[in-house]
Amino acid sequence: MENRLRVLRATRGWSQADLGERLEVSRQSVNAIETGKYDPSLPLAFRIAELFDLPIEEVFVSPARRASKAI
């Protein structure tokens, strides 16, 4: 799933490890989510959005909406 995690993290000046520590997940988990290799569970996605004080849809791009835009 496409997301803005890398950009949001960069604006805060956090490394992947820093973000992982704040979310209580490993650095490789952050990397997998950022690169779209892993879609986080709903609770983790909410934790990420709440950490950046943003609504969830401003962090993660809905695959359905992305597909409809492409059409």
């Binding site: 209580e24 490993s26 650095r27 490789q28 988990s29 990397n31 997998a32 986080p40 569970s41």
Partner: protein, 136 residues
């Protein structure tokens, strides 16, 4: 790379269980080869080495319950699926080959050996497909 407390606990359990396995196996081989054990005791001695192996399967299950990082947990689930798929497939193929007298007999506990090999294979596949570290 820092490992979770659950991963460290899992490793400690596996190390102890492996030592116990070695101890039980040596004891069973020695006892049965030298005819020191007979009757029910021989059965008990023969089953004892299997118990730590079964406990390692349990330790993997417990690790999956205890691991708080959902991505790392998913990596281990993928590994166990590869291991189970490989072991069951090879056991099925070998079973048919053996029943048609095309190959020799292999002791059933080798299924567990193949399963553990599959766990390692799963880690390599995680590495190739997801870029995940070989261990969790």
């Amino acid at each position: 790379m820092t490992h979770s407390v659950a991963w460290k606990r899992y490793n400690i359990r596996v190390i102890w269980l492996s030592l116990l396995y070695g101890l039980f196996l040596i004891g069973a081989v020695y006892g049965i080869k030298h005819h020191l054990l007979g009757g029910v005791l021989a059965y008990v001695a023969a089953i004892l080495p299997a118990l730590p192996i079964i406990a390692i399967f349990g330790a993997i299950g417990r690790y999956l319950v205890e691991e708080p990082d959902e991505y790392v947990r998913m990596l281990m689930v993928r590994q166990t699926l590869w291991a189970s798929g490989l072991a069951l497939s090879l056991a099925t193929i070998w079973g048919f080959l053996e029943s048609f007298d095309l190959v020799g007999h292999i002791d059933a506990y080798y299924i567990a050996v193949v399963w553990f090999f599959g766990l390692g294979l799963g880690a390599c596949i995680n590495r190739v497909t997801l870029g995940a570290p070989v261990c969790c």
